[in-house]
Amino acid sequence: MTLLGRTTVNVVIGVAVLYTLLPVMWLLLAATKNVDALFESDLFSFSDFSFVENVKNLFAMDKGLYGRWYLNSLLYAVIGAAASAFISIAAGYAFDKYSFRHKEKLFGLVLAAVMVPQTVLALPLYLMASEAGLVNTFWAVFIPALFNPFGVYLGRIFSQGYVPDEVLEAARIDGAGDLGTYFKVALRMLGPGMITLFLFQLTTIWNNFFLPMVMLSDQKLYPVSLGLYQWNSSATVSPEYYPVVIMGSLFAVLPLILAFMLLQRFWKAGMTAGAVK
């Protein structure tokens, strides 16, 4: 390729990288400023470095609500994603290894569920939860988040790829029951796939905003997303909330970035399987 071509390629990629990185850099810099500095001073002047003070304020604001929200988000996301991965991969495995009547039709229904907007289900879910007395409880947000039809689709692909039928046959000859084989043999082979599903659902639940907004009225049950949304609306009236919302956002971003960095290869595996089929 010509020198001009090479330069163009790298300049375009460089500009795209700046576009994605600069807002995150801004968040990082803004988190070091107090209210006055945020509105007045130069972004790169560190004369009023208030990072530590902002962290203290974040966890002290409204009697330490943020810590509570953070814990809620972790509970919703970590336990929810683990349970969801476990449920989805079992169903995906069953779709792959067993044959029964109307199997493909049923699988079609699972795929169709991917298409249905969350906003369509929110009102009926709210009414059902209120019927069951679950509105404004942990479960109202936790249970619907376990449902991941795309995870079943991926689970089926992983099962095709990672669990050879010969291995199952061998286990059967050794006298292992079907469920025993699944839990002792297949599940171990599906491990990497399960981590992928866990990460996907972790992201989804950590991002969850609409359902908590519909289901929860008690601030103490809020996840971080909904809590920051509420604080932001306070910030439009009382600006002292701005540095707290900014610092809160920074903390809210950390777990996923950490999970993504540590488990990068699992992330990619799932995305590749989803796209290439």
Binding site: L21, L109, T119, L123, L146, F210, V224, Y242
Partner: protein, 291 residues
């Protein structure tokens, strides 16, 4: 027999969820859309549910705020989806071209926004759109250019930008993975045939990752039609976004502000039908083009 039992046990938890958080709610939404809460006797009598046929549908479809919201979301899709698909594909092709430097770092940086939750992405950009807070507005002001990101004509592009920022890298990784799967012989053959790098990217590689392009396109469409988080957050700061800015916001407003469940359910079913029809249409259209 034993096999069947095991199969049922493995599938049971998922199908329990499928029924309770998907099938029953979908059915309930359709059911609710044909009923209304009527209060006889000036609202003093007991509330009763009466069958109203398609009255709620007529009400939703003839409501200019709903039609406005639908139009907004269509316009949003028309700007957002081409920018997203073309942008992500171009970046993937550039990264796959063999001359890109620091490929791993570039990919990781481009992917980073996907680890930022949607509401946080909207918050960051809202602050970058807010005069006084935003270094971008300050920069423009130094050049004597007044810019309002939350004005009547700029608010939709501003929302598009947030969505683009969040998802560009994610879709780029999907395209890049598909490009990596293109057989090297095909590419070598095209070089022998005298195809330059640009021609190779557009004529050889792009058609070969068509499957990934369609998948990304449809998922982007389904998500875009649900537009909710970004406008809801921005509406805290600008009067240009009404409570019924998009169909999803209309549903929320009808259900939880106006407590009109029939109206909300009808709007939900319309949005669902619209989503299914469009995804189906896109699939059919791309299949025909391939044939």
């Amino acid at each position: 027999m034993k096999g069947k039992l095991a199969c049922a046990v493995l599938m049971a938890p998922f199908f329990l969820l499928l029924v309770t958080v998907f099938l029953v709610p979908t059915g309930t939404a359709i059911w609710l859309s044909f009923f209304a809460q009527d209060q006889p006797g000036l609202g003093f009598g007991a509330e009763s549910t009466v069958f109203v046929g398609v009255r709620s549908y007529v009400a939703v479809l003839s409501d200019p705020t709903f039609r406005g919201g639908l139009l907004t979301v269509v316009l949003y899709c028309l700007i957002y989806i081409p920018l997203m698909v073309v942008g992500a594909l171009v970046l993937a092709l550039l990264l796959d071209s063999g001359v890109a430097k620091l490929r791993g770092w570039a990919q990781m940086s481009l992917y980073l926004p996907h680890a930022v939750p949607g509401i946080i992405a909207a918050l960051i950009w809202l602050y970058l759109y807010t005069p006084g807070l935003s270094p971008i507005i300050d920069l423009f002001a130094k050049g004597d250019i007044q810019i309002n990101f939350l004005g009547i004509n700029t608010v939709l592009p501003s929302i598009v930008n947030i969505a683009l920022w969040s998802n560009l890298g994610y879709n780029m990784v999907i395209f890049y993975a598909a490009l990596q799967a293109v057989p090297r012989e095909v590419l070598e053959a095209s070089v022998v045939d005298g195809a330059g790098p640009v021609k190779q990217a557009l004529r050889i590689k792009t058609p070969l990752v068509r499957g990934a392009i369609v998948t990304v396109g449809i998922f982007t469409l389904i998500w875009a039609l649900q537009l909710f988080t970004e406008p809801v957050l921005l509406s805290q700061s600008t009067p240009m976004i009404s409570a019924r800015f998009s169909p999803s916001m209309y549903i929320y407003d009808a259900a939880f502000t106006r407590n009109n469940y029939g109206l909300a359910a009808a709007a939900s079913v319309i949005l669902l039908a619209f989503t299914i029809a469009l995804s189906f249409g896109v699939t059919r259209w791309t299949n025909r083009k391939a044939a």
